[in-house]
Amino acid sequence: MNNPELTWGSTKGARKRASSREKRAALRPRGGGLTALWHLLMLAVGAVWLVPFVWVVRTAFQPPSAAAGSGGAGGWTSWTLANFMHVWEGAPFGRYYVNTALITFGILLVQLLTVTLAAYAFARVRFAGRGLLFALFLAQIIVPPDALVFSNYQVLNQMGLLDTKLGIMLPYFASSFGVFLLRQAFRQLPYELEEAVRLEGCSRLGILARIYAPLCRPVYVSFAIVSVSFHWNDFLWPLIVANSDTNRPLTVGLALFAKSTESGAQWSYVCAATLLVAAPLIAFFLAFQRKFIDSFMHAGLKG
């Protein structure tokens, strides 16, 4: 996708065609007004994009009676944390938090190991079947474990791991996406570096741990951000596997909590619970928005 030749081939044509349009273009007014309108429009879209979240925040911090009422004017005056207290006591959200953290970071830890090893093999070791295997790895990106919930449930059942945190984590211990991302990064490191260290008697695994991994730290951070964001938010698979509060993550807990409240008067509780679940990632995102967006951008380019 970021092939420089590809870029140049088409730009030449584009430039030629652009200059042939010179006359027609010159007739067009150069609109400062149009630009201003465009900026205004996009800022408005941005504002519209914020509305749902603002609405939820507002409802979460209002006394339940205010949300049940008109919700219009006067709704901005009284602020309370009572909804959050109610939610925190009404369902074991503390436990859900711990579960989500354990699952998310458990997955990440194992992934970092499996991904590093496989990426190094694909980047620097010539072994029989490498090309075929690399193509096979693509399958996980096209058909993620979430699309195979039905079969994976039965596999997990055969292993006797239903309703365990390990069962929720297992399908994600391998990450083809991570392998592709890291392989690309490893290949960009000069091979001479590895040869030099090897002559000094360092083993290949030692080189991987001491040279490759540290030099690719930014790529690891990108991968970690994408992985954590995904698994923090994952729902369908944990919903099917977890059957008890001991193992339920936040997303499943939230869904159960929302289902248990029926009437409109309880919207303030649902909004508070929703915020509780979404808050950590949103907070990290706001604090490191540049790094987050760069990570997803980086990951997408290589994927």
Partner: protein, 296 residues
């Protein structure tokens, strides 16, 4: 000779050893489940038939005659057709703005992207609230526009549209990221040259920006289309696929069939259909990508 052979065996063992951990988990939770679903799709296995009975392609034939499956499939196609172009067009506009705007650049990026940091299930809660008759912001807006009390999620003709609006809100910012990356790769002197030639901003957009982001458009289209089939968490909260299957999507229907109706044979057949569909859409990218590489 002897050492060369030893070296080669060692190298192969080393390579396979490194790949083995990943391969183990991929085998267990990607390859084996696909194989399993393919095999089981040839058997009848449900509450009435507790022992698998071989039916060949009978399950697939039954699917093609099953009005619910057909409805769900058509729903999914409409859902994709509604979400993908809208989200992509918005994503492109957002990227153009977030790339260039000096004032409000960070605001725009954060405002467009933050929905991706919210779990789909929480997004579903938020939008369910927005759509709740009497209380919800969008429900009130819809009632005001139509002049009567409207329940957007309750109506079979509006529910899919309501889902599409939510999906566009959630996904456009994600696709924006890819366009932002693509825009950064376009050499700036191209625009300077175009501007010196007297080309308007519109011409530059049509002759430089859009053609040069074409590979990204293809890439995003594939992601967007597969996402339209993969992301179904919201249904669990918002509608359970209703009213009368009007909002059900393929993966959610698979979930229902296997975990609520316990029809394993049919669920397997639908899983096979789903995998085939995902492979087909992804193949578009490979072929399209090949062509765009060679068009020089």
């Amino acid at each position: 000779m002897r050492t060369g052979w030893n070296e080669r065996v060692g190298r192969n063992a080393f390579g396979w050893g490194l790949v083995l951990p990943s391969l183990l988990f991929l085998g267990l939770f990607t390859y084996y489940p696909m194989f399993r679903a393919a095999r089981l799709s040839l058997f009848e296995l449900n509450l009435a038939t507790p022992k698998p009975r071989f039916v060949g392609f009978g399950n697939f034939a039954a699917l093609l005659k099953d009005p619910v499956f057909l409805k769900v499939f058509v729903n999914n196609v409409w859902y994709a057709a509604g979400t993908v172009p809208l989200a992509m067009a918005l994503a492109f506009a957002m990227a153009l703005f977030a790339d260039k705007a000096i004032k409000g650049r960070t605001f725009a990026r954060v405002a467009f992207f933050y929905p991706n940091m919210i779990p789909m299930i929480a997004v579903a809660n938020i939008w369910l609230f927005l759509y709740t008759p009497h209380f919800g912001l969008l429900a009130r807006l819809a009632s005001w526009v139509s002049g009567q009390n409207t329940s957007l999620l309750g109506g079979p003709h509006t529910v899919l549209g309501a889902m599409i609006a939510m999906a566009v809100w959630k996904e456009a910012g994600y696709f924006m990221i890819f366009y932002l990356a693509a825009l950064q790769q376009i050499p700036k002197d191209l625009y300077e040259a175009a501007s010196a030639d007297g080309a308007s901003a519109w011409t530059a957009l049509g002759r430089i920006t859009i053609p040069l982001t074409m590979p990204t458009t293809l890439f995003v289209a594939v992601i967007a289309m597969t996402n339209a089939f993969k992301l179904v968490d919201h249904l669990w909260i918002m509608t359970k696929g209703g009213p009368n299957h009007a909002s059900s999507l393929l993966l959610y229907h698979i979930y229902e069939t296997s975990f609520q109706f316990f029809d394993q044979g049919m669920a397997a057949a639908m899983t096979v259909a789903m995998v085939a569909l995902l492979l087909l859409i992804s193949a578009l990218q490979v072929f399209g990508w090949d062509r765009s590489i060679h068009y020089e």
